[in-house]
Symmetry: C2
Subunit: 351 residues, 2 copies
């Protein structure tokens, strides 16, 4: 049997064609190992417990010798699943989303899966089109970081029988992997309160995102605990973008009396706020303390490193992938919540 050293067309340098007629197929491996393709297929099936029988060894060795790699399309066609997960995020140029995506890629890889991403530009209905593209491409499930309050898209997916998990933002019903935004908001606000601040402005983010709403709740809770009534003017709605932070901070700066600290819904708006403050001639933390959220890499390298709330994106990613893989989740266990941590830096001090 050893005489028939693979009919695969090996190139002069010993390398093997990846595509086309010379491709090494399971059939070649089986022939080389002297077994049927059924057996070869079974041995090479990564989902089975790994056997160390004589045949298994021979097959694996033959596969390695010939440089066999399974044809993903053929396997997917037969299996009915692609082992691929689609990820939908507003935009990758938002570092938070890039971080989430990189961790999702890692987590998926650990679970023997693969992720592909599509962006929506945060346009309200664009997630439909993105999901469509991904689904047509054959993904087994979806991870959405684009959930909006009151949006019926998740239930539409549910109806269509599409497996999906919400990440970072939740609708309170669908399977979700999020961070404890309420706690994060609480920690940030509590930190400012502990430093002695009482007039604390809030750049609140958009109401459509549960993440933003949670942080606002945490803020209110901390303020209430400290018996500090919240002046409605202190809470300014915004988007997640830098400019929006600048604008919101401008609003807060104009108040009389002016707040002595600002908690921004994310690092982007905090950076925007920083611009507004600097342009108004206010120093951080001298004239105004500032807390961000997410701990994106840049904020620790700013002239004044930013106090912020760190989010364990790796945990969130792991949980999201697991939730997606879980075929029969417990009805009461489809919400995974990761814990945020406050990272004090130079942008906060006493008033």
């Amino acid at each position: 049997m050893a005489g028939r050293t693979g009919r695969a067309l090996r190139r002069g340098d010993g390398r093997v064609q990846r595509k086309g007629p010379g491709r090494v197929t399971l059939h070649d491996v089986a022939a080389e190992a002297g077994v049927s393709k059924s057996t070869a297929s079974r041995v090479l099936d990564e989902r089975m417990p790994r056997s160390d029988s004589d045949t298994a060894l021979r097959v694996r060795q033959a596969a390695a010798a010939l440089g066999y790699v399974r044809d993903a399309s053929a396997a997917s066609l037969r299996r009915g699943r692609t082992m691929t997960v689609g990820v939908i995020v507003p935009r990758l140029t938002d570092t938070v989303m890039a971080m989430l995506y990189e961790e999702l890629a890692l987590a998926a890889s650990r679970a023997g899966m693969f992720v592909v991403v599509a962006t929506t530009g945060d346009t309200p209905q664009a997630d439909r089109a993105a999901a469509e593209r991904l689904l047509n491409r054959g993904v087994d499930g979806l991870i959405l970081a684009t959930a909006r309050e009151g949006d019926e898209f998740p239930s539409m997916l549910e109806d269509e029988g599409v497996k999906f998990v919400l990440a970072l933002r939740t609708d309170g019903e669908s399977p979700s992997s999020v961070a404890d935004d309420r706690l994060g908001g609480y920690l940030a606000t509590r930190h400012l309160l502990d430093l002695g601040h009482r007039r604390i402005g809030l750049i609140a983010g958009p109401a459509y995102a549960s993440s933003a709403r949670g942080r606002v709740e945490g803020y209110r809770q901390a303020m209430e605990e400290a018996d500090t009534p919240v002046d409605p003017d202190w809470v300014v709605e915004s988007s997640f973008g830098i400019e929006s932070g600048t604008e919101a901070a401008g609003r807060l700066i104009g108040l009389h009396p002016r707040p002595t600290a600002i908690f921004a819904v994310n690092d982007n708006t905090a950076i925007g706020a920083l611009s507004a403050l600097t342009r108004s001639g206010l120093s951080v933390p001298g004239d105004m303390s500032l807390v961000g959220y997410n701990d994106i890499p840049i904020v620790s390298h700013l002239p004044t490193p930013l106090t912020t709330v760190h989010i364990p994106f790796d945990r969130i990613a792991d949980a999201a992938i697991n939730l997606l893989g879980d075929d029969f989740p417990e009805e009461d266990d489809l919400m995974r919540v990761a814990m945020p941590t406050l990272i004090p830096r130079r942008s906060t001090a006493g008033p």
Copy 2:
């Protein structure tokens, strides 16, 4: 024939199964339209010129009515190509790479393709593993933004018969889509010279990247044209990271006489430099002018908006996709070069 309205198991609400036994297949469409599956396949083949014949119309209508979507795995298996392109970037949390990727996704979509991304963390040999993963996944070609001077990986790919294009960075030999870094470096430096600066520091980036080297050349060319000898101390090597910019700027600040302006190889290092400057109590542009490179969104929103060089990532992405799709490129036309533009903002002024 019209009586046989699809054996596809339609759900009560009129929706159609995406997977499993109830799936609408080409066979169903053919039956519904009263033609053979060969004909249906031809009509629905997006690569053919679109016909408006009677049958074509009937087939398309049947497909729409049944909610048919082609099974990507089956098509890929038979066609031998997946219409998918793999993109390899150092990291997506680098906004430059995120921008490139988003534009690549757009350009690919325009060409009827799909992109998937893998990251290397800029680890020297990690691109091998990333390429392997992508290739095993069945991508038709690769776009690499990780090229390193003197690396033999491109020629290895060439040997293996893998189609690929380098983006942003080139090795001078392989098909590449880049921006004119020399020109960009020239424009930035010339801008500073025109403002009256003579002692111009350079945060040079890593020598392994052609992009960085090109910008350095542009710098030297501009300086030479202005009859301004370059003090070797003015040129500080760095990485592309923020911290590295801080460190390099620290070096430049310590010089006697101190440069009056700094040109940083990218916006990240410019932001790092900004930190160093601010911490040293130097104002921008009062005490020191600063120019970045790439025009990532954040730099226009900094307290002092950064003068930078804008790169048309959309053009670069288009060219990369086209280059990859071009099966028989002219030997002398495998290098596409996009033009950068200087964007003057507040971070530069006379010395």
